[in-house]
């Protein structure tokens, strides 16, 4: 296998598209963790609902409707953002000043609610979303053919990474977000309504999860338990990369994608263990993550 460049290339591409898709979801998780200091257990559930909402919208729009799939994905991101807005304004904001435990319990409760909601609304059978028109075939990359939709996932993941980097590092909103991660009270004393920044970050983070769920839907199948696997992988990405660090999440997602792809190929029985070993190694030598910062106070 190892001396077959075609297989190696295809596995590499699989790892890349898987990793970059995970990045879209993990980016929201790490943003929320960095700014709100809330570990959002429900992030996988939001990803799952994003997939299901996309499924419903795709089926609701007439098949001939131009761009039906893309509109559905954007619609899923908007629906999830609106959900996040309601959750933040009515419930989550009351927990910011509390310990981590009530926050964890709260987001865990959201997971349970979301899973039951999906069962009631969409049933327990496996659902699938077909590839959007124009992305049903494979394209010739020279070394081998590769499914065009997976290639698209690589591109969109990179585009979202660059866009997020730009917003965080080059805009006033981004400066406020970074300041909020460093000293909330001081920012508040400088006349900034930090509560509103928290709300916007939560809405944006959850919308990213919904967007990720919609984009991933054609490449995966929709099942009730799909959130659990994703949230574990996203947590690992955030831990490897450094909590709250977007470049860290990007690097972590690329590493996890490749470990997953080559793990499946080389040591199929230990593929999952590899990922955890990686996390253990990072925690032993750089407990604050590859691109994270040591907490200094």
């Amino acid at each position: 296998m190892l001396n077959n460049p075609t297989i190696l290339f295809v596995q590499f591409m699989n790892g890349l598209s898987f990793g970059l898709t995970l990045f879209i979801i993990a980016a929201g998780l790490t943003l929320i963790l960095g700014v709100l200091r809330v570990l959002n257990f429900a992030h996988g559930a939001f990803f799952m609902i994003g997939g299901y909402v996309t499924f419903s919208l795709v089926n609701w729009l007439p098949a001939s409707f131009p761009g039906a799939f893309w509109l559905s994905v954007i619609g899923a991101a908007i629906v999830l953002g609106a959900m996040a807005w309601v959750i933040e304004r009515t419930m989550l904001r009351r927990l910011y000043d509390r310990d981590h435990l009530p926050q964890l319990l709260f987001t865990f409760a959201l997971v349970l609610l979301a899973e039951d909601l999906v069962k009631v609304a969409w049933g327990t059978s496996v659902l699938s979303v077909s590839f959007p028109p124009g992305f049903k075939k494979a394209v010739d990359l020279g070394i081998s053919y590769y499914p065009s939709y997976r290639l698209f996932l690589c591109v969109i993941g990179t585009v979202i990474a660059v866009a997020l980097w730009y917003v965080v590092n080059r805009t006033r909103m981004g400066r406020l977000v970074r300041a909020a991660t460093q000293d909330r009270e001081m920012l508040e004393s400088l006349g900034i309504n930090v509560g509103r920044i928290y709300m916007m970050v939560f809405v944006a983070g959850v919308a990213l999860a919904g967007l990720g769920g919609g984009l991933a839907a054609p490449a995966t199948s929709l099942t009730v338990g799909m959130d659990a696997e994703i949230i574990v992988q996203c947590f690992i990405i955030v831990i490897i990369g450094g909590m709250g660090s977007l470049p860290g999440a990007f690097l972590g997602a690329l590493i996890l994608g490749q470990l997953n792809a080559f793990g499946v190929m080389l040591v199929p029985a230990f593929e999952l263990v590899l990922i955890y070993l990686m996390m253990v190694a990072v925690l032993m030598f750089r407990p604050w993550g590859l691109l994270g910062h040591k907490e200094v106070q």
Partner: protein
Amino acid sequence: MAQLEVTGIETAYGMSTVLFGLSLEVGEGQVVGLLGRNGVGKTTTFRSIMGLTPPRTGSIRWNGTEITGKPPHEINRLGIGFVPEDRRIFPELTVWENLDIAMRAGRRASTWTLDKVYELFPDLVGLRDRKGGYLSGGQQQMLTIARSLMGNPELLLLDEPSEGLAPLVVRDLRHQIARMRDEGLSILLAEQNLGFVLALSDRVYILEKGEVKFSGRSDEVRDNPEIIKRYLTV
């Protein structure tokens, strides 16, 4: 009517009360000193005014309007700037980013712009792109004050600005605060450094155990070794 009127505030952190019915006033364009040993409640007074630790009872009026219970960002937007003791610049943001965050157009004629702030603190110009965490103590102090000015306050709460700074830096700082006063800014200045406060302020309050024990003109304190010995000598 004074610009800031604090009347009988009691402030506590959880079970431990720090301020016991403290009252003070700052008039427009005045520099008022807040003196007292460590732990008498100077910082808590500032936190109460800013809304960071709202008082349990008593009233804080700003230009005649009650501001107790308002969130800190609203209190800041009404024209009160806060320069905390531990400086609290954003270490991961550059000097320019630290300043930009606080930028807000003022309602008054004398508006602090980036250029004007750089003119007052020329050292910051060359450090524009350096991260806040890599500045010296003196530079950080300049940046914290400059950052508060960017919000165009009418009153600045300065908590121990000279603490831990080299004598030459303290001398510069004194001139800079004097210039801010000359621009019409009111300043409530908490300090351990008696000479520093007396050189700048019109009036002083001396605190002990969360209460005002003396209030009067600065020269009354300067000429009264008894007061200095009783409340200020360590």
